[in-house]
């Protein structure tokens, strides 16, 4: 079943920085939980260099969609990734920033330990960190201006610092797709702006396909290239200005009073 989304090449030229060739395609994706359908017939294209935001009410299937992409939830339909040379890849590198990680504040785990546990092939983090992983960690943290946090315990980081560390981790190695689940919940207004500025810069720098799940409509209107309003299926999608004018979106988010 071909859908309107296959007209994607028409978007070329809007954002000159992106190659527009690599693409994650979701075709007829569906998932159910305990017999109840949570997602039905979702069709989406995620292009590199493009920030796509999923919006929707609680229980609309946003997190389930993320879990399908991560390969954590069985789904029907098809998800595949093809790179710039149009080669299909079954397992793209996915960078993932989870929703509100609740670390044990007293746990003796440093930022470096977190990276070591994720990046070390053999050496257990309890026996120290190899020089190569330390180097990759510093390099990763520099991308999000967080290299000064290397030795800090995770429990001592502020919400904004934690987000930058998790973002740096998701970018090491540089992924094909970056997925963020409610990345700014619990971060204050100026922290949010900084975070989105950083995200926009990184997206351009690394030509990332970014998928964001968020409720923060005001920021999304500014920073997202495309909004997808999900309510079990894709209700509407397009440029933020267009989607935010849609009556179904306005009703769901109580936007009647705003013009």
């Amino acid at each position: 079943m071909e859908t309107a989304f296959d007209s994607a090449p028409a978007h070329h030229g809007i954002a000159p920085h992106r190659c527009g060739e690599c693409c994650t395609t979701l075709r007829g994706v569906g998932a159910s939980y305990g017999g109840e359908p949570v997602l039905e017939d979702v069709n989406l294209h995620l292009h590199c260099g493009e920030l796509t935001a999923i919006i929707g009410e609680n229980g609309a299937g946003k997190t389930t969609l993320v879990r399908c992409l991560l390969g954590e939830t069985p789904h029907s339909g098809e998800i595949h990734f093809s790179d710039a040379a149009r080669r299909r890849k079954d397992s793209p590198i996915i960078g993932y920033v989870p929703q509100r990680v609740s670390f044990d504040r007293e746990a003796p785990v440093s930022v470096l330990d977190l990276f070591a546990a994720s990046l070390e092939a053999r050496r257990p983090a309890c026996l120290g960190v190899s020089l190569s992983v330390r180097g990759r960690t510093i390099e990763g943290l520099r991308r999000t201006d967080a290299s000064h946090l290397l030795k800090r315990r995770l429990g001592t980081l502020s919400g904004g610092e934690m987000q930058r560390v998790l973002l740096a981790l998701a970018l090491t190695p540089v992924p094909n797709i970056l997925i963020l689940d409610e990345p700014v919940s619990g971060v204050d207004h100026s922290g949010r702006k900084k975070f989105y500025d950083l995200l926009s810069r990184l997206r351009r720098q690394y030509d990332l396909a970014v998928l964001l799940v968020s409720h923060d409509l005001a920021s999304l209107a500014r920073f997202a290239d495309r909004l997808v309003f999900l309510n079990r299926r894709v209700v509407c999608e397009g440029p933020p200005a267009e989607v935010l004018r849609d009556s179904r979106v306005r009703e769901a988010f109580g936007l009647e009073s705003i013009t």
Binding site: V101, D104, V109, A117, A125
Partner: protein, 284 residues
């Protein structure tokens, strides 16, 4: 197995100018403590970080049922039925947790209630329970050379498995969502660790005692948490505290004529109290 291979150890320790070092059973017990205590201290870091303290407690207590099964089957020693039952229990608890419905501590509490009672009912039939009280407080001074050999093999295997799965366990302890996205099959790591823990606890408790075995997992790690700023320090401090309190506890129990397992635990608790004074939380 006779103890010829232990001759160099006996000769070396007996050179120490202490009364306890002149007894063969003390030298064997010392070797057993040197093997068990750091192993429990090291595994304890993950028990604390991954919130498995109640699980390890339940596995230790389930030994009653393991012993009872051995008695019913007419087996000569209780060790194999104990280990077998502990593994079965680990799988059962993992399955219940995975299935959901019951919260983890309710599930474990339920299983523990069932196994402890079942074991006690079977063992107390005919008023014979007193025979098994040794398991409650442990008998460190009854270690034989073949026990020491068994413990050495156990320590080597358990330490190797633990180190192989350590990074994945660390990610699981921080965030399941993060672990799923960064680690290969984190669930396997958790299951292997739970099984390793079950076997180590079960094999150590004839010497340490059912009532106090869990403390040897928890207390050194709790003390280490007060001092450590990162994972490597946490691990090193926990092993160090377990090692030192193991030796101190053994020697004190010799002179004070007390149960060794519980004396070691008290030494570890004393170490914990000392670490509170140097806690990084106080110094910021």
């Amino acid at each position: 197995m006779n103890g010829v291979w232990l001759e160099p150890w006996h000769r070396a320790v007996s050179l120490l100018p202490f009364e306890w070092a002149q007894y063969s059973f003390m030298r064997l017990a010392l070797l057993a403590v040197i093997l068990i205590a750091p192993l429990l201290g090291g595994l304890g870091t993950a028990v604390v970080a991954n919130r498995m303290a109640f699980f390890s407690e339940a596995v230790g207590h389930a030994a009653f049922t393991g012993i009872a099964i051995g008695v019913i089957l007419g087996m000569s020693g209780p060790l194999w039925p104990m280990v077998g039952f502990a593994l079965l229990l680990t799988l059962l608890i993992t399955w219940i947790r995975k299935r959901g419905g019951l919260s983890s501590d309710t599930a474990i509490g339920l299983v523990m209630a069932a196994t402890v009672s079942l074991g006690i009912v079977i063992l107390s039939k005919g008023g014979d329970f007193a025979r098994y009280t040794n398991f409650l407080i442990g008998d460190m001074l009854g270690v034989t050379p073949s026990d020491v050999a068994g413990l050495a093999v156990l320590t080597a295997i358990a330490a190797a498995l633990f180190l192989v799965f350590f990074n994945r366990l660390l990610l699981c302890s921080m965030s399941p969502a993060l672990a799923r996205s960064r680690a290969k099959r984190p669930g396997v790591a958790e299951l292997v660790f739970a099984c390793t823990l079950a076997v180590v606890v079960t094999c150590s408790l004839p010497w340490i005692g059912i009532l106090v075995i869990n403390a040897l997992l928890i207390v050194p790690a709790a003390a280490a948490r007060n001092l450590a700023r990162n994972t490597a320090e946490f691990f090193a401090w926990s092993i160090g505290v377990a090692f030192v309190s193991g030796i101190v506890g053994l020697i004190v129990s010799f002179y004070a004529s007390t149960a060794t397992g519980a004396t070691i635990v008290l030494a570890a608790v004393a170490a914990y109290a000392v670490t509170l004074l140097f806690s990084r939380r106080r110094t910021g």
